[in-house]
Symmetry: C2
Subunit: 890 residues, 2 copies
């Protein structure tokens, strides 16, 4: 018989922490915590295999499940002496999702299950608190009806508001027992009206309804979006955890809270958490009431200056909690994110998991754990998600600039951002698609807002604490967030944001600082960030461990400088065409393209040469003796031409052509598929004078630097879009002719080698022949992906998302290298070329060069280097170190 | 010591017919003829290796060459008792090119070399004909000066015309000895004026000048063009043949002629040739005088009805010639093209080679040779150039139509063509690029006209015989040609063509019939050709021998019928999108594309379905039980949309969208690189309803045909542009759902299998995975070529020619499959897929399916079939047979 259900409780468990695949993260931890001897409410986990079965079999369950669930309930009932539907001591349970990866708030949860018209009275009797019992029942009806029966929760909230209004009450806590009872009646009536059936009274019926609702919620829209954003596979599925309820809302000797065992924002060794007295867990997470801090130290961060910390209010229980935290950290060897409830002064641990953290915190915690002797350097390197480093590297607000601070909220996710105020997540997404920077401003966020949060540069909310939905999600996404800014008021109808007496409209610009909680008027300029000592330690360890060399893709002196500062070990791709777009130069470029013959073309090229030479001199000066790979002109010429509707009078004058001729030329140069057109080395073959000019500029730059500053440059001239060794041979011969021409006048010639991009499938397949003519290969994985897949990157938007949703592709192949297809081509090229020329230098210079997964693949293949954009260099270094560690551990 | 020079003469030779690589075709045959015992003027061949050396070493010669040439000359002088520059018996020589492949008229030749102011007198004495001697000297000065010294030949012709004019003469033959002497003086003066030097008198200097000129002519423009048109590699090089002169112009007991041993136009077993009494060889070839036929039988074909045939005029020598022809045919086992000269009643054979022939002749000769027991069936199949079969298959002039015959010339190259009159080869090329059909009309053609002849649909000349330049080249190219139409007169200045009293202008339309010699006014409609019994024999033998199956790419009933008639063994590619372009259907297609949601889209698709079903029924009815591969919709949807500037009122009305919305939609659907865009199976994934409609139409067509006519169809549903097995799986499941849906109502379901195009590199690399989901693969070599090379076929025009000129590519990869790159992908896919699924059916369906070289490659790979356009099926069958024979012979 298959085992579908795993019990836990009373210091024992069927599962353990290793069984995340089957039990989900929550289920595995509940089992593990039981084994650790913590007091965890007993329950059972329905495994993820049931989820697979459910979706494969038209939402039916395996036959044995019913029996196994019944047995588990019986066991809880027996040991706890509470009974589901029991009239004396009714057992109430929670029903929660729990997948292999954490997906906070994305799936459904039902609490207080087991309440009905009878058990509510039993609960009142047992807890000696009638108000609490009916409050729980009312909450349960609302939650269950919303999730399982499809009755909108707003309808219940309307009834609640009406009840308060008609009794002149403001806070929920002011509601009396009668109010609760009255509400229960009204809620049930609402359910009857909408569903045409009575609210279900049988706890077993309730239970199966809730279980199905949780399984169904695996495929709700927000869960799908979240998985897409976080690269979580569709086929993992969720487990369902059914667990006895404990209550944080049975009076003022009760509370509920969440805590991180270290500060998830800074990594500091302090308890970071919040709690609410006389409340249930969802009150904390949903941000409906702003909670109080756990420890006294945190008071400063809060907007509320009164000391309501748990440390002060419940000192003994606080100490017990701290001890639990230590136990958990020393067991899991990492910072934990813990949910707990205190019921009548008894501490129950509801959940623990490795806590999400900011990148700064991740780095500091990892380094601290090494210093505390808990983990090794190598383990520390593995702990930091390389992708997240980028957040640290971007500029922060200029402290010297004067700021009009409008208000201050909680510093919920660090970093700063400026942008247009937008109140609606759909609009945020739409505007960001047209490259607008927006700040999403919401009273509170909910899982439906995720796409808008992702599109926004920053998030500002009026309610909710440091662990509210907005805060957790923003930290996960690396978006700055200020939460709980209680002084802001959003007028949805007039689309205005009122802060104290200031009224801002939609699309006005504000700046938020998620590290201080400040909300600032207008746009604030930024400065380069100070990189922490912890960051430098991690980089140092990465350099020690990694074997791949990390170069950069850069051509402006600014970018080259940034890359050098981040430790670039060379330039892997200097795109010369970017140097032609300056307004001064583009006119000569256009003259060149419009030239009628070689002589005219050469005349225009001669005007461009001094500019190119100066550019190269600047770059070479910064890079000194580090290798610099210069790629000769790549894009189709028409990219440089103006539009017909532009004012082209100057161009027409200098070139002496007419408007009509310009039109003809533009049409002539138009291409149906420019990506596959007259570009790359094809330009070098048909117009040799272009590459000759560039070669001359490169070599003379090196020559002059040698004379002027005694710098010995290391040049790698790279030819793009080669598909045949003969192309390369012809172009190499032309380069040699230029260098021999220089040697006739000079005694010194800078060091240079000649290589090629491998960015077409044919080039990869013929890599042995091509290697004979090349000193190095640089895999242009962007174009190689385009041609291997037959997908134009610019046109892929229409179907790529569908392809990922339908699991045809695991991820966007332009972000993470497709190792099966494109990777196979690289592997073929590597083997063929090294077979012919063992010493050939191999690297990649597509966008993939900054992507950790792709870097891991390049490391496995044994390439020599990867090249990425300047801001991704630290990421690439860490990822390269992680790749080395992974390959060593095999 | 390297051997650079090979002697022949007096029944002996250093070389033989096998040494074409080193001696060129002419040199090898001269050697071979000597060995056969024919009387061939003695001489020597400077090998092609000297040509390689010459071009590699900056036009210098190997050191040993001078000595070897001197030795060879000495030997000729000793044996022939004539001496170069000798005052008694001066030796005159010809210096001719000769490459491995025949390139008639493309390179330079110098005759009469050795003449100077002294030897001309000796020649006069020896030949007892002073006029002949000075005529030869004058010709030599002109030819040598033109070719070696660069003095334009027109300048000499002007002097000749002036000489005739001032003496009241019309024909060259009327010139007296004094005229010749006077011309020699004037010619030498012309050379002095232009070159500032005396015409060279030293025969050895003359010889080396001529040798270099011949080597140089290997790289003149017309030779390069010819090689490109005929796929002759640049690196073969030419040999140079130096041979003692014999003279056909020493009086009326002399003549010179060319002959084919069988009729090269029809293949009939008759002597087909021409001769001129008292003339040199170039007079025949250049078409300056219209020659007389060799045999009496040929008189009917000639415009000149008087019997001046050699058979009547020189009966004994004619018989001797016929005996030589027989000897040559039985030695070379093929029809020969022979040049000969009779000097003072002594027959000299100057050259023999396998004769060029029309396709009809090639077929008949091959079959006849089998029947004569000379060659085997297999050898006969190899003898016919598969590519040329296409000429036979196209329609000919409708015999029932009334024709205004303007005049009649010689039936120089069979076939018929209509087109605009064009007098200039450049204009012919330009017009043909804009898809105009043109007839090139020239007084006579020369090698400079080749590009225009290639561009024209037919060629008409006023002068020249059946072996004139125009006739030989036109037959080689498969262009119809009427030559020697002596009644036509071209007025170059007014751009008119006068035929008798009719005056036609440039761009007026005429029709020529190269099989009858008729020149006809206007355009004449055509009828399907009768295929000869010989053609059918060759096809029958091909079917016996070939192992590849030959299918067709066709979707209109007309094309399918033609293909079936030519023996198509199935349809390899039925492009469903071609069925949507009809004006009735395109509007539903547009409705579908402009639909806002699935429901509207399905509504539009439902309107298209009946049309599709009817199409399939027609096709299936023709093909009966032969396999029919139907490819589901492939191109990007915007290809079906109208242009904004069109009248779209009907479309706007039916769809209810506004002009502005249409504009938006058009812009939305626009793609930067449509070739790599939202097309192929990507449409099937994002809009499943499209492929579902098509599947339904296909299966229901099969179903209804079964009911109505008891036809059991064999359907292969093919999915385009797949790069992953998961795509294929999803689409296959959708197809299954449709077929299961049909089975719910029907008891019979037509036979069908599901497969995919392999047209993206990734699909080839992952062929093992994809094969698990596929019953067959069809390699889409067009797109596979585009993606492997990164070349858009539509944009390749700008550089592909340069790439072929520079030998980067051997030929256009869209015409002949690139076996190194694209072929490697096919090979990988074959191995991987057959490894997983031995039975998987493999074929190709790109344009390459009708290209003999590519077919040979597919045969070598062991594919199951190729698919090509209907008119190429016979070519494909013969090519497939040849491929089998080639692979067997290895």
């Amino acid at each position: 018989m298959n085992k579908w259900v795993y019990n836990f409780g009373f210091g024992k468990a069927d599962g353990n922490a290793e069984m995340r695949d089957v039990l989900g993260g929550k289920g595995a931890n509940l089992a593990e915590m039981n084994k650790l001897g913590l007091s965890v409410p007993p329950g059972f986990t329905i495994s993820t295999e049931v989820c697979h079965y459910y979706y494969k079999n038209n939402k039916e369950y395996p036959k044995e499940l019913l029996m196994q669930v019944n047995e588990s309930i019986n066991e809880i009932e027996e040991k706890l002496k509470f009974k589901l539907g029991g009239n004396d001591f009714p057992l109430l349970v929670s029903v929660r999702s729990g997948s292999r990866a954490s997906m906070p708030g994305m799936m459904d949860t039902v609490l207080n299950l087991g309440l009905n018209d009878n058990t509510v009275q039993a609960l009142a009797k047992a807890s000696k608190d009638e108000r609490f019992a009916y409050d729980s029942y009312r909450r349960f009806i609302q939650m269950y009806s919303d999730i399982v029966l499809g009755v909108p929760h707003e309808d219940f909230e309307e009834l609640l508001e009406a009840e308060k209004l008609s009794n002149g009450l403001i806070l929920d806590t002011e509601l009396k027992t009668e109010n609760m009872k009255s509400l229960v009646g009204k809620y049930k009536e609402l359910v009857r009206t909408i569903t045409k059936e009575e609210f279900p009274q049988d706890p077993i019926l309730q239970l199966w309804g809730a279980i199905s609702a949780v399984f169904d919620s695996w495929r709700n829209q927000r869960a799908i979006t979240y998985r897409k954003l976080n690269d979580i596979p569709e086929d993992w599925g969720t487990a369902v955890n059914v667990q006895a309820m404990v209550f944080g809302n049975m009076g003022n000797d009760c509370c509920t809270g969440v805590a991180f065992t270290r500060n998830p924002s800074t990594g500091d060794q302090e308890i970071y958490g919040e709690y609410l007295i006389n409340a249930q867990g969802e009150d904390v997470v949903a941000g409906i009431r702003t909670p109080e801090p756990l420890s006294k130290n945190s008071i400063n961060n809060s907007t509320n200056k009164q000391d309501n910390s748990m440390e002060s209010k419940m000192p003994i229980l606080y100490k017990e909690l701290i001890n639990v935290f230590k136990k958990l950290e020393s067991h899991y060897l990492d910072m934990q994110d813990v949910e707990f409830t205190i019921q009548k002064n008894k501490l129950w641990i509801l959940q623990t998991r490795n806590g999400k953290r900011t990148t700064n915190a991740a780095i500091k915690i990892a380094v601290d754990l090494v210093n505390e002797g808990v983990i090794s350097k190598e383990e520390a390197l593995i702990r930091v998600d390389a992708n997240t480093l980028e957040q640290l590297l971007h500029p922060t607000l200029d402290p010297m600039e004067e700021k009009t601070i409008l208000t201050k909220g909680l510093p919920a996710s660090p970093g700063a951002a400026s942008g247009k105020i937008v109140f609606n997540p759909d609009e945020a997404e739409a505007l960001s698609k047209s490259d607008e920077q927006v700040i999403l401003v919401r009273t509170e966020t909910s899982p439906e807002d995720i796409h808008g949060m992702h599109a926004a540069k920053g998030i500002l909310t009026g309610r909710g604490g440091m662990t509210s939905h907005a805060a957790v999600v923003a930290r996960g996404m690396g978006r700055p967030c200020v939460s709980g800014a209680s002084e802001i008021f959003i007028d949805e109808i007039n689309k205005t944001l009122k802060i104290k007496d200031k009224i801002l409209s939609a699309h006005d610009i504000i700046t938020i600082n998620g590290s201080t909680g400040e909300v600032i008027l207008g746009k604030i300029s930024t400065v380069d960030p100070e990189l922490s000592e912890y960051f430098n330690i991690i980089m140092g360890w990465s350099n020690e461990v990694k074997t791949l060399s990390i170069r950069t893709n850069a051509e402006t002196p600014e970018d080259v400088k940034i890359a050098k500062r981040f430790g670039a070990e060379g330039i892997g791709l200097c795109r010369t065409e970017h140097m032609f777009f300056d307004s001064e130069r583009i006119k000569f470029m256009r003259e060149m393209i419009l030239a009628n013959n070689e002589t005219e073309r050469k005349k225009a090229l001669a005007k461009l040469e001094p500019y190119q030479k100066e550019d190269f001199k600047e770059i070479f000066t910064i890079m000194e003796d580090l290798p610099v790979t210069v790629r000769l002109l790549d894009p189709p010429l028409h990219e440089f031409l103006p539009k017909l509707e532009d004012d082209n009078s100057e161009l027409l004058e200098t070139t002496g052509i007419t408007q009509k001729e310009l039109k003809n030329r533009l049409e002539q140069l138009q291409e149906l598929n420019p990506m596959l057109g007259h570009r790359g080395s094809r330009l070098g073959i048909t117009f040799p004078e272009i590459y000759e000019m560039q070669t001359k500029a490169i070599l003379e730059a090196g020559l002059e630097l040698h004379k002027e500053k005694n710098i010995k440059v290391n040049i790698e001239i790279m030819l793009p879009l080669i598909f045949s060794s003969k192309e390369l041979k012809i172009l190499k011969d032309n380069i040699s002719r230029v260098s021999e021409g220089l040697l006739e006048k000079e005694t010194y010639l800078p060091n240079f080698i000649v290589g090629t991009m491998i960015e077409l499938p044919r080039a990869a397949l013929l890599a042995d022949e091509i290697a004979k003519e090349a000193d190095f290969f640089s895999f242009g994985t962007n174009d190689l992906t385009q041609t291997a897949f037959g997908i134009s990157r610019d046109d892929a938007g229409r179907f790529l998302e569908t392809y990922i949703e339908k699991s045809i592709l695991e991820n966007d192949p332009f972000v993470s290298l497709d190792y099966k297809g494109v990777g196979e081509l690289i592997d073929i090229a590597k083997k063929k070329s090294r077979n012919i020329k063992k010493s050939i230098k191999l690297g990649i210079c597509g966008e993939h060069g900054g992507d950790p997964k792709s870097i891991n693949f390049c490391n496995k293949l044994g390439l020599d280097y990867v090249s990425c954009s300047p801001y991704r260099i630290p990421i690439a270094k860490l990822a390269a170190a992680q790749a080395t560690l992974k390959s060593n551990s095999k």
